[in-house]
Amino acid sequence: MTNERYLIVSYFVSALGSLGLGVAAYRVLRAPFAAIADAVAGSRSAILKRALRVSTIMAAVLGFLSVSYTQHGCVSYENVVKDRGYLVQLNREQLQSAGNWIVYAVFAWCVIVLICLAVWRSHQEQSPRE
């Protein structure tokens, strides 16, 4: 396989891999998050559930896209294609970056769930008084 063909194939495989990481993270968190959202927001929980899906997948895509083959225009296409090792390293960086961005997104959602739980708890404590 020539380096140019490897670049084309690996780029799209890496994109799919990053997307797969995002989808996997979403699927793991989906069920418990839906239960929390339903408990806190009731019938208006759909927006929260969709936001979780969109943000997790976007984080993965963002991580993938944040790696530049040409170092933002500093390296020519010919130099990029010349070195197979450089191409492999960038594929790994794409997956690494996708993983890191998913972790940031998961932490952000942990904070959102924390806020949701605080709201839910205050509602629970107010309900008996009413």
Partner: protein, 117 residues
């Protein structure tokens, strides 16, 4: 199989084992704490799953980000060990940062939910 691939595979497996061990060691007490403070089983489940995702993704990201360019054909056994140990340094460093962030998060969760308990 090239020395680079051997080192990468060994580091990958060790990182997975380390991430699994961290998750396994902390999960029972974390579950007990979360069940006590959240009062919502789904929330306990969410935070436990988030913890597992974070630990595994961070360990794998650290391995993917580590280059093993220092190892050459015909390298000695200890050179392989040093190369794997070098990548483990990144794994442990990232795991430590993630654990500190997670502990901070759980502390805030405890403070927010236990105040009026």
């Amino acid at each position: 199989m090239s020395p680079h691939s051997i080192t990468f595979l060994a580091s990958f497996i060790v990182a997975l084992v380390v991430a699994g061990l961290v998750d396994r060691l902390l999960r029972p007490s974390l579950r007990g704490l979360l069940e006590e403070i959240t009062g919502l089983p789904a929330a306990t489940d969410f935070y436990l799953r988030a913890f597992a995702i974070v630990v595994i993704f961070v360990a794998l990201a650290a391995i993917l980000g580590t280059g093993h360019g220092d190892i050459k054909e015909g390298a000695h056994f200890m050179e392989y060990v040093w190369s794997v140990a070098g990548s483990m340094q990144d794994v442990f460093q990232n795991l430590l940062i993630v654990l500190l962030v997670y502990v901070t998060l759980i502390t805030v969760l405890m403070a927010a939910l236990r105040r009026e308990h």
